[in-house]
């Protein structure tokens, strides 16, 4: 027996709906009442000074142990994210591009990509891709990101340069095709050339079905991935929101005024 529940249209408009989010790390409150709503296909940027809670927000969304939600809620496509394990969140279409991608000795990048994609397909009740189809699919994604077959054979992120690690994150995003990608400081540690490849790679993945939450300290990635909305995070909550111009304003004037406002 199945029950069809009518979903109000307005409900479906929100891909991500964060309400009054409070979160602590080691008992210390970091997020203190954060509200954020994103629609499908929208790109939002969260900017803020160091220590404002940017990375905490990304880890809370992805479900990392040790990031405790003490109050509030996060709905992802109308479902309670807090009830899901990290791998279930990925299965539901969530993707976190890590600020510091993790090295995994002994697991080749290719095997990692394949295992991830097939795990997500299994979660959705889809068949596994066979080796040939998978290889063809990956090759389509690597071309624009300037990723070689040699790199795919290497162990995940082991011995990768900073730029290679970030390109590898974008490759994973291209392969896993999330409906919401959270990019945590994806521009950090990149030189101008690497930033261009990453920025264009991310931009090429923009689509009406894919929302992106770009967490960054600087404006420079937003020159490529122009956001629909920009939010300023300070003191654990959103203290200002605006359009892309706000990011440029922050680049010129800094966060000083906002930090004071949050205090």
């Amino acid at each position: 027996m199945s029950i069809n529940v009518h979903q109000p249209e307005e409900f479906l408009k929100n891909m991500l709906e964060i309400k009054n989010l409070h979160a602590s790390v080691d008992g210390k409150p970091i997020l203190k009442g954060l509200d954020l709503t994103m629609g499908p296909g929208e790109v939002h940027a969260i900017m803020g000074p160091n220590g404002s809670g940017k990375s905490t927000l990304s880890y809370v969304i992805a479900g990392r142990d040790g990031y405790e939600v003490t109050e509030g809620s996060i709905l992802f496509n109308g479902r309670d994210l807090m009830e899901m394990e990290p791998d279930e969140r990925a299965g539901e279409g969530l993707f976190l591009a890590f600020q510091y991608p993790v090295e995994i000795p002994g697991v080749s990048t290719m095997n990692f990509l394949k295992t991830s994609l097939n795990a997500i397909r299994a979660y959705r009740g889809e068949d596994e891709l066979d080796a040939m189809d998978f290889l063809k699919f990956v090759r389509e994604q690597t071309a624009t990101l300037n990723i070689t077959d040699e790199l795919l054979k290497r162990a995940v992120n082991v011995g990768f340069s900073g730029g290679e690690k970030k390109r590898n994150e974008v490759l994973q995003m291209a392969v896993l095709r999330p409906s919401l990608a959270v990019l945590d400081e994806t521009d950090s540690g990149l030189d101008v050339d690497a930033l261009k490849i990453v920025g264009e790679g991310v931009t090429s993945l923009r689509s009406p079905e894919r929302s992106m939450l770009v967490i960054t300290h600087y404006q420079r990635l937003l020159d490529y991935v122009v956001p629909d909305r920009v939010h300023v995070l300070a003191g654990g909550k959103i203290v200002a929101s605006g359009d892309a111009d706000l990011a440029r304003e922050l680049e010129e004037k800094g966060y000083a005024g906002f930090s004071k406002a949050a205090a």
Binding site: G63, E85, I104, G106, A119
Partner: protein, 437 residues
């Protein structure tokens, strides 16, 4: 000096069965047995008071009643698939089983049970049997009983393409048993051979296995010696290998330790001439209350010899592993290169590793190193995999397999490789089931 009750039981048993042991009527052999039993009688089985046995206690044997009947020559047994098309010798409950073995002729190879060679091969066998390891009680005990095992003889320059296989299977009767085979690998100059030795046992059986293998690697020969230890859960397994490597010779050893309640695989290598090489590698997978011991003793006796060791394992439950690695560089053995690494993944709070690397260096110009690590799975890596949609159990499995992959890569494309990867996979699945229960 008093000896343990199991030691006493062994001596009683020897008296009871001495006239049924292989090679009756061979005078030199009777003399060797007598000397060995005298030697064992003075010390008995080692206890943790003996430094080399500090971490591995054989007291479980005191609970064994060794008043067994002789092995059953017709026992039914489930044998694993052969690893290839090579010859295979099968011993079931201590008895060589011609009906289960595949004896194939290869040029330059003689591969037979020891009992067949005690008389005909006396010139070759006798001097090597005499090397009992002096004050080592388990070798002495094995020398007293000296039951049937395998003998591999490879002629000079013969390269044996097939993998030689030996299976020691225990069907697990009601009564505890003791099996003490003596094996021999004799590789002539410039020859090459690969051997897989598998130890199997029925789950509940109380078996004491005390095997010994004498290896001689002549000039420029290569011996690859693989051992798979999957004895029954009630067993005590001690397997001692003594290898002597001549100039340019290579002894390449790999052991998988997975079975038995208490197990020790000990490899003693003498690098006796220039450019001799020992490669000693191993994987151990322990759960429940298992104790899995890997002990190595490598003696660099002359100039320019080389040894490499890598032992890695994963432990769960309250399993304990022991790694004792001893590298001894004799005076004058300049140009020695000796390296030893032991790494363990502890997958539960109660799992434990006792690791004891030892370097004894009496020469000046040597390169020797040792390293040991023990730790849990990397939380960051685990979260990274899970954030990519991989469920926790699968992600943990991937990380354990990746960790052990470094050792398994050393036997890449050998018949043992798929067997090892399956063993790791099955062990993980079982360990995770047990954790959830």
């Amino acid at each position: 000096m008093s000896i343990t009750s199991a030691s006493r039981a062994m001596l009683d048993r020897y008296e009871a069965v001495r006239e049924t042991l292989p090679g009756q009527g061979i005078e030199w052999l009777a003399g060797l047995r007598e000397a060995a039993v005298q030697s064992f009688g003075r010390t008995g089985l080692p206890t943790p008071k003996v430094e080399e046995w500090k971490y591995t206690n054989l007291r479980a044997l005191d609970g064994f009643d060794f008043s067994e009947t002789p092995g059953n020559a017709d026992a039914a047994v489930d044998l694993p698939d052969a690893v290839g098309a090579g010859p295979r010798l099968v011993f079931v409950d201590g008895v060589f089983r011609n009906d289960l073995s595949q004896l194939r002729d290869f040029d330059g190879l003689r591969f037979t049970p020891l009992a067949d060679r005690l008389e005909s091969g006396a010139d070759l066998i006798q001097p090597r049997l005499g090397d009992l390891g002096g004050d080592q009680p388990l070798l002495a005990l094995n020398g007293a009983f000296l039951e049937d095992g395998y003998v591999v003889e490879v002629a000079e320059k013969a390269e044996i393409a097939a993998t030689l296989e030996i299976v020691f299977a225990d069907t697990g009767g009601d009564a505890p048993t003791a099996r003490q085979p003596r094996n021999m690998i004799i590789a002539g100059a410039g020859s090459r051979v690969r051997i897989i030795e598998t130890h199997l046992g029925a789950a509940p059986s109380q078996q004491f296995f005390n095997g010994a293998t004498m290896v001689t690697v002549a000039e420029g020969a290569t011996v690859e010696h693989r051992r798979v230890q999957r004895q029954g859960a009630g067993s005590v397994h001690v397997n001692t290998v003594r290898a002597r490597i001549d100039g340019g010779g290579i002894y390449d050893s790999f052991v998988l330790q997975q079975g038995a309640a208490v197990a020790r695989d000990e490899v003693q290598v003498g690098l006796t001439a220039e450019d001799s090489v020992a490669r000693l590698n191993g994987v151990y997978l322990g759960d429940g209350s298992q104790v899995l011991d890997n002990t190595t003793v490598v003696r660099h006796a002359t100039r320019n010899s080389n040894s490499e060791q890598l032992y890695k394992g994963a432990l769960t439950g309250s399993a304990r592993a022991v790694f004792q690695g001893n590298i001894r560089v004799e005076a004058g053995a300049d140009g020695t290169d000796g390296r030893m690494t032991n790494k363990t993944l502890l997958l539960s709070d109660k799992a434990e590793i006792d690791t004891k690397p030892q370097l004894e260096i009496f020469a000046d110009d040597v390169k020797c190193s040792h390293g040991a690590t023990a730790g849990e799975l990397d939380d960051d890596a685990l979260f990274y995999l899970r954030a990519r949609g991989i469920p926790e159990a699968q992600a943990r499995g991937m990380l354990v397999e990746a960790f052990l992959g470094e050792v398994i890569d050393g036997v890449r494309e050998e018949p043992i490789e798929p067997l090892l990867r399956d063993a790791v996979g099955n062990w993980l699945a079982h360990a995770q089931e047990t954790d959830e229960a």
